[in-house]
């Protein structure tokens, strides 16, 4: 049986625990044993330790990686930042032995060590490479029944590609999430701004109006080019922008349409038979139409 460390991070367990429920459900349904990352901390977010120094970044990530290594597992995360930050830390430690040496010394002070053997997976690459589209299709209880999906991969899932253990063939034209949706019976066309940033993150914290204007530009393009039933998102921060951020734009009367949003883990969990109330518990844009389409297609 496959085993994987479930790396939760911050936004998923505290802001969107419905994504945590979905991750747990889909791993169980796919016969992957979940290993709890007891004592794991923040990845650490780009604006924290990484903004203090490379060693600061590496040692804080190495704490998490050492927990996975001790348990003999790789990690999976639904958050783009957790994916990017920890993979980049791994990359730096391999590239800078002097930094790794310092990391080892500090970890040793609290009785821990990290040998550099842990891979960090995102949901898309894990499903694509470790499970496979055929198995996913076989295990699905519901077909997406033609559901039209607008894909948002999320920046940190794509770049810097050299730091990632798995990736798209072309990181400026991502296809894996589209293929997953299509394997489950949906349609997921390409659109012109598919790799554009949603504006969540440091920009949202430090220049909120510019962040939401950037997001609106992307949303308007999706609406005009695809008019999807749902946006399917590869990163929990993007999900918060596409759901709660979109609700803000509606409240501010900046847009006059609504496109529901699901994390790829939520969509896959629902197709595998998860309890919809739990899998979508924190969504602010109603998902009734999406669920009816999926469940109606059984």
């Amino acid at each position: 049986m496959k085993r994987i460390g479930l790396f939760l991070g911050c936004n998923i367990p505290f802001n969107r625990p419905d994504v945590e429920y979905s991750l747990r459900f889909l791993l169980n349904a796919l016969d992957v044993e979940i290993v709890e990352m007891e004592g794991a901390a923040c990845c650490p977010a780009y604006g924290t330790m990484p903004s203090l120094g490379i060693f600061e970044w590496a040692v804080a990530s190495a704490w998490n990686l050492s927990i996975a290594e001790e348990k003999g597992v790789d990690m999976i995360t639904g958050c783009g930042s957790c994916y990017g930050v920890q993979n980049e830390a791994n990359y730096y430690m391999k590239k800078h032995p002097d930094i790794k040496k310092k990391v080892d010394e500090v970890l040793a002070k609290v009785g821990r060590k990290y040998n550099g053997n842990v891979k960090v997976w995102n949901v898309t690459n894990f499903l694509y490479e470790q499970i496979g589209l055929d198995t996913l299709k076989q295990k699905a209880k519901y077909s997406l029944n033609g559901l039209k999906c607008g894909i948002q991969t999320g920046c940190h899932n794509l770049w810097p590609s050299r730091a990632f253990p798995a990736n798209e063939d072309n990181v400026f034209a991502p296809k894996r999430m589209r293929e997953i949706c299509e394997a489950l019976g949906g349609v997921a066309p390409h659109y012109s701004t598919i790799t554009d940033c949603c504006g969540m993150g440091a920009l949202r914290s430090n220049a909120p109006e510019k962040s939401l204007a950037l997001f609106k530009k992307k949303l308007d393009t999706i609406k005009a080019e695809l008019d999807p039933d749902v946006n399917v998102i590869g990163c929990s921060s993007c999900l918060m922008q596409f759901d709660a951020g979109q609700s803000l734009l509606i409240e501010q009367k900046k847009i006059n349409y609504k496109i529901p949003a699901l994390h790829i883990a939520q969509l896959v969990a629902i197709a595998l038979g998860a309890e919809v109330e739990k899998a979508t518990a924190l969504a602010t844009i109603p998902l009734n139409g999406v669920i009816t389409k999926i469940k109606g297609g059984n």
């Binding site: 367990p13 969107r16 625990p17 901390a41 120094g53 970890l107 609290v110 821990r112 770049w159 993150g201």
Partner: protein, 178 residues
């Protein structure tokens, strides 16, 4: 930064030591920049309308314009998306230039207040993002009140804090590390 402040560059402000500092803080390839502008063409900060975006930040860094870089808050709006790293033909790692400027800024307390909030949460709870009301949200998703992270394991959290005390955080944190 004043309107148009980066458009007129006063080269007498150039500080070689600051260039060195940035290179030591991670911008090690800084001097190789050819100002081709590819990083700026792909940068969401530029697309969002921040005037002092990555190409200009790298330019100012290569010139050692310390005051402009430390006084302007644009570097804190960077999305860490690494598009610039992916496309840079000279392998400057422009994002690392942003991080180097941030690293120089925190050493002289020249960063936005919310930077400290994230660091304080990280130190206290093991989570930089630690929003109120999460117990209720977790209940709605059918999950236990607390996740099985550093938040739930005090001994582990203490060890994590000891690790953080062995970094520069110990020197720059404007809050007690106890």
């Amino acid at each position: 930064m004043e309107e148009g402040g980066v458009n007129v560059i006063d080269l007498t402000q150039s500080d070689e030591n600051f260039i060195k500092e940035l290179m030591e803080l991670g911008a090690d390839e800084l001097k190789e920049c050819i100002q081709c502008g590819k990083c700026g063409a792909t940068c969401p900060m530029a697309l969002a309308g921040l005037e002092f975006f990555i190409k200009r930040i790298v330019h100012a860094a290569t010139l050692g314009l310390r005051d402009i870089l430390l006084e302007d808050s644009s570097v804190w709006g960077c999305q860490s998306c690494n598009r610039c790293v992916e496309v840079c033909p000279m392998d400057i790692k422009p994002y690392e230039v942003i991080q180097a400027v941030r690293r120089a800024a925190v050493r002289v307390e020249s960063c936005p207040a919310n930077t400290y909030e994230g660091l304080r949460n990280l130190y206290r709870f093991g989570h930089a993002v630690f929003p109120k009301g999460f117990e209720e949200r977790r209940k709605k998703a059918g999950l236990p009140e607390k996740p099985p992270t550093a938040l739930s394991f005090e001994e582990m959290r203490k060890k994590y804090q000891e690790i953080l005390r062995n970094t520069i955080l110990e020197e720059i944190a404007p809050f007690p590390l106890t």
